[in-house]
């Protein structure tokens, strides 16, 4: 008895087929993004393929290698509450906790959020810092793309026509620290700028991944920054140099939240602060 144009397939393959065959069809996950655009008559889909009926897309499952697969339909609230995302993976939990507000975190999903790929959203830099991979499906099958390559441009991802995100793969959590520092005008707003950092510590030393959000068409990262921080994690000069490298790699714009110039100014300061907090967390253990 449902509405014409509304589909709720039971499997990923059915969903992929519907998307490929139906003209003007769009994926509906949590609705926080797509329905907001429909209300603004920015998006006028002729068909909706809801992913709510596909069991494998929900929930966070531990993988054989000790890593995790977060189904595309997993709501921010569930990701924010999952204690298994610890150590280096805590960066993702910290990010999920700071998305919008509790009510929207009950609706929004990780697949919907990263599919829309607003670079000021909280998951893109966090997934890069967590060294995650994004699982994509199309009519032909599934493939995985590293998060650092998944986010391509403003609101543009590696997903081609008819493709959609089915999940996120996280490497096994390594002992260490994971932090997401978000600067926004008010609580719940998109970031002016954000820093996502994971720091794995083992006998060999510290291995750091860092990414900056809100300051370019996609999450900003720099091999030099990762290298500098990993080599001398305790050193303030290294943190400053890493901050400068990331500011140089950034490509911020002026928008209603802040100016490009301010974003370049604040990136090194946020990086230095986040590194200091991560180091304190490591030393505390």
């Amino acid at each position: 008895m449902s509405v014409p144009g509304y589909h709720r397939p039971k499997s990923v393959e059915d969903a992929a087929r519907l998307l490929a065959e139906t003209d003007g069809a769009r994926c509906l996950s949590g609705g926080a993004t797509l329905v907001a655009m429909m209300n603004a008559s920015l998006a006028e889909p002729k068909a909706i393929v809801s992913l709510a009926g596909i069991p494998e897309l929900a929930g966070i499952a531990e993988l054989a290698n000790g890593g995790f697969r977060i189904g595309a339909m997993t709501r921010h609230a569930a990701t924010a509450a999952d204690a298994r995302l610890a150590g280096t993976l805590a960066v993702l939990r910290d990010a999920a906790r700071q998305i919008a507000n509790p009510v929207v975190r009950n609706m929004g999903t990780i697949g919907g959020s990263i599919g829309f790929a607003d670079p000021a959203a909280d998951y893109p830099p966090a997934l890069v810092a967590a060294n995650a991979e994004v699982e994509i499906v199309n009519a032909a099958g599934r493939r995985r793309v590293a998060a650092r390559d998944f986010f391509v441009d403003w609101y543009t991802t590696a997903c081609g026509p008819g493709e959609f995100v089915t999940g996120v793969h996280l490497p096994p959590p390594r002992p260490g620290a994971g932090l997401y520092r978000k600067l926004a005008r008010v609580s719940g707003d998109f970031a002016i700028a954000s820093v996502a950092l994971s720091a794995a510590r083992d006998a060999a030393g510290v291995s750091v991944r860092i990414a900056v959000g809100g300051c370019g068409p996609r999450p900003i990262r720099a091999d030099a920054a990762d290298a500098l921080l990993s080599a001398k994690f305790g050193d303030a000069a290294a943190a400053a140099a890493a901050g400068e490298a990331l500011a140089a790699a950034a490509d911020p714009v002026d928008d209603v939240r802040a100016s490009a110039e301010y974003r370049r100014l604040v990136i090194p300061r946020l990086v230095a602060e986040t590194v200091a907090h991560a180091r304190a967390a490591l030393e505390a253990r």
């Binding site: 769009r26 993004t33 797509l34 655009m37 603004a40 008559s41 920015l42 998006a43 006028e44 889909p45 829309f116 790929a117 607003d118 441009d153 403003w154 609101y155 543009t156 068409p217 714009v253 928008d255 209603v256």
Partner: protein, 152 residues
């Protein structure tokens, strides 16, 4: 909404000017341009599809060349709408060609774009960011076409 940018093309100014005022070539360079039709030497009709995330906006535009000072300057006005007039767009565009060292040409473009309707209200932030990306893509396509032609 002010969109500006510049890029260098390895070709002399006269050549670049000729191509930039050639609708057929421009059609291939403007990202999302689905059709271009010459109405008269000074007026073109173009249909451009812009996709930003789930937004699909197909613009029916009329481009009027206001001033032409070969080989250095073109001023044009674009007017049009998309969907059932869901958005109305108008922009004043200026293109300046400056000789660059090594015989190339620097193409500087500035557009003062006004969008009202659905895209103006909600999509302005996104459109501005997408416009920057479109500008870069145009430059890439245009340079590719000119330099390929020059090389052959």
């Amino acid at each position: 909404m002010r969109i500006e940018g510049s890029f260098v093309v390895a070709a002399p100014r006269e050549r670049v000017f000729a191509e930039i005022t050639n609708p057929a070539l421009m059609a291939g360079c403007i990202p999302g341009c689905e059709a271009i039709e010459v109405i008269d030497p000074k007026t073109y009709r173009a249909r451009i599809l812009i996709e930003v995330g789930p937004i699909k906006a197909r613009f029916n535009l009329v481009v009027e060349v206001k001033e032409e000072a070969p080989p250095e300057r073109v001023v044009s006005v674009t007017r049009g709408e998309e969907g059932t007039r869901a958005s109305v767009i108008s922009s004043n565009n200026e293109l300046v060609l400056v000789p660059a060292e090594g015989g190339g040409t620097e193409v500087k473009y500035v557009s003062e774009v006004s969008v009202t309707g659905r895209l103006g209200k909600f999509g302005l932030g996104m459109m501005k960011k997408k416009a920057e990306a479109l500008g870069a893509k145009f430059a890439e396509n245009f340079r590719g076409k000119i330099e390929a032609a020059a090389a052959s």
